[in-house]
């Protein structure tokens, strides 16, 4: 039989398909089955039955339980002005980290990487660029301004010209400045890393420390921040957040006393893990504190008697700080760094045996009522 005469075999379509794609596809299928089997949910492991209501936000807030009503307090404060808010001509767009009141009640604010000066009527009358990492400022004597930035203190004149500066802390342990104040010719800085207050002259020579004469040798600062103020007599009041106390010291660092304790129900107490977070001394010697967790501002007698509460409805609940300052008339300036606005509260009413001097009713006549959200 001549092979040339043999008619080529006609493969059926089935035969051809069997030969061409059945095996690749078959292998692919088997391989896919193997992969699926290798990565499927382990046998026996079934999702636990979902609890009814198990969803985001089911858990109650730690601060959900309202604190006790402050009841009858001796003072009431009214909100009289807001500076730097989103609706203002000069809003803080990125940050608001510090505030102080200088001579002639001019307001110095630190935010948006600049020092901003507000004059009468809340108009911005001056501004200059702040140093990098600027985190606090104070208005010093003669119109000077000191800015704490990282471990550096920068000193400016009233127009923003740099007069000098120095590094705070030790070479091996630079300070982390979270608050700065002046007392006479001295510059005091809160070093949150060393958990003490350091005193310097204007050349940067350290004159002493405050806070070491205690059982632990330093403040206890779980929130890693220290705030303080110094009055005209040289009494330093500082936050001791871990102990939930306001402490008093002489300028030489001798302890004078302390008040405050933890408590969630009594408004006189300080809430949460670490409060008060900010502090300022009023011209009449009374102490103004700010708290986080329940964002509120409170006014105390120097012995710790609560006089007033400016409630959380005035501040963003996410505030970790509310920076405080007071002007010569005793108005409280509270800088909310989350909403980036400075709120000014004036004393609207007071009872008891206090002298009537210093009463500044709000311009709009609206009395601020202490309420809880």
């Amino acid at each position: 039989m001549n092979p040339k005469n043999v008619e080529p075999r006609q493969f059926s379509l089935r035969d051809r398909l069997d030969k061409s794609w059945f095996w690749p596809v078959g292998i692919a299928g088997a391989f896919s089955a193997f992969v699926t089997a290798a990565f499927r949910t382990p046998p026996g492991a079934r999702p636990a039955p979902r609890e009814p209501g198990a969803a985001a936000g089911r858990l109650g807030s730690q601060s959900g339980k309202p604190a006790q009503s402050p009841g009858k307090l001796e003072r009431k404060y009214a909100l009289t002005a807001v500076l730097g808010g989103t609706s203002s001509a000069d809003p803080f767009r990125r940050s608001l980290v510090g505030i102080d009141v200088g001579t002639d009640d001019r307001i110095f604010a630190l935010g948006d990487e600049e020092v901003r000066i507000y004059g009468a009527g809340g108009k911005v009358v001056g501004r200059w660029q702040a140093p990098a990492k600027a985190g606090c400022l104070t208005a010093g004597p003669g119109g000077s301004v000191c800015v704490g930035a990282g471990n550096f203190v920068e000193i400016y004149d009233a127009g923003g010209a740099r007069l000098g500066g120095f590094a705070a802390g030790d070479a091996k342990a630079p300070a982390r400045i979270t608050a700065i104040k002046t007392y006479g010719k001295e510059i005091l800085v809160a070093d949150a890393d060393a958990r003490i207050i350091r005193r310097y002259d204007r050349s940067g020579r350290q004159l002493g420390v405050i806070g070491t004469q205690s059982k632990t040798g330093s403040f206890i600062l779980p929130n890693k921040s220290l705030d303080f103020d110094v009055d005209a007599k040289g009494v330093v009041r500082a936050t001791d957040t871990g102990r939930h106390q306001v402490t008093a010291w002489t300028i030489d660092g001798a302890p004078l006393g302390r008040f405050g304790k933890f408590g969630m129900a009594n408004p006189e107490d300080f809430v949460g893990c670490c409060n008060p977070v900010n502090l300022a001394i009023a011209p009449d010697g009374r102490i103004v504190t700010a708290e986080k967790m329940i964002s509120r501002v409170k006014v105390y007698e120097p012995d710790g008697k609560l006089l007033a509460v400016i409630g959380p409805e005035n501040f963003d609940p996410e505030c970790i700080h509310i920076h405080l300052a007071l002007d010569s008339k005793g108005r409280i300036l509270a800088a909310d760094p989350v909403r980036r606005e400075i709120k000014i509260f004036s004393l609207a009413a007071k009872t008891g045996n206090e002298s009537p001097g210093g009463l500044h009713p709000p311009a709009d006549g609206q009395l601020y009522e202490v309420t809880r959200g």
Partner: protein, 197 residues
């Protein structure tokens, strides 16, 4: 005849290409998964500590655990993640209740110990992972402004069984479970490995 042959050849070629592509793709996927350089993990910035990590994990005892980042921790005496600060205070003014229902958050005094005044002490907080079920109550309580935000939830690789599709990732309303490349870290390869912890 030639037309028929061309069509058949086309079908042949197409089928071969599809078949080999399927094999290649599956092999690539397998290689990628076996290489173990990508794992499921919780993004702490997105996590709301909603409790779904505890209830959604395919393991009866979730692979998600709380961890404490010590450099952020305040070592508080009154840690809001440890104490239920809203519970009634005891005779020393310290809250009587705890946040963790499993009592998995443990603490010990570090540094100098003051027996008389606990306010003078620093406390180190650690998680007992044999008790932690990943409910996230402590994480929620530690979030700013209440705490420093040092506590966060993490998927523990030793427990994670690397499901094809992570059940927690499917359930998470905040899209906080991510597939992240972590070179050198190999997730547990089987349910058996996951069961040991």
């Amino acid at each position: 005849m030639s037309e028929k042959s061309t069509r058949r050849q086309f079908i042949d070629r197409s089928c071969r290409i599809i078949g080999f592509a399927a094999i290649g793709g599956a092999a690539g996927l397998l290689t990628h998964r076996v290489s173990g350089n990508a794992v499921y993990q919780v993004d702490p910035a997105k996590c709301t500590a909603c409790d779904l990590c505890r209830t959604s994990c395919v393991l009866s005892f979730s692979a998600v655990k709380a961890v404490n980042q010590f450099d952020k921790c305040g070592y508080c005496m009154l840690c809001p993640a440890y104490f239920d600060v809203n519970s009634a205070p005891n005779e020393r003014g310290i809250p009587s209740g705890k946040v963790c229902p499993q009592d998995a958050l443990k603490r010990r005094v570090v540094g100098k110990v003051d027996e008389e005044d606990p306010n003078n002490n620093y406390y180190e907080y650690t998680i007992d992972e044999t008790r932690c079920d990943g409910c996230g109550k402590c994480v929620k309580a530690c979030k700013p402004p209440m705490g420093n935000g040092s506590l966060r939830l993490e998927i523990r690789y030793a427990r994670c069984v690397e499901c094809n599709e992570c059940a927690i990732m499917i359930a998470c309303p905040a899209l906080a479970i991510l597939r992240v490349p972590v070179p050198g870290i190999s997730p547990a390869r089987s349910a058996e490995e996951g069961k040991h912890a």
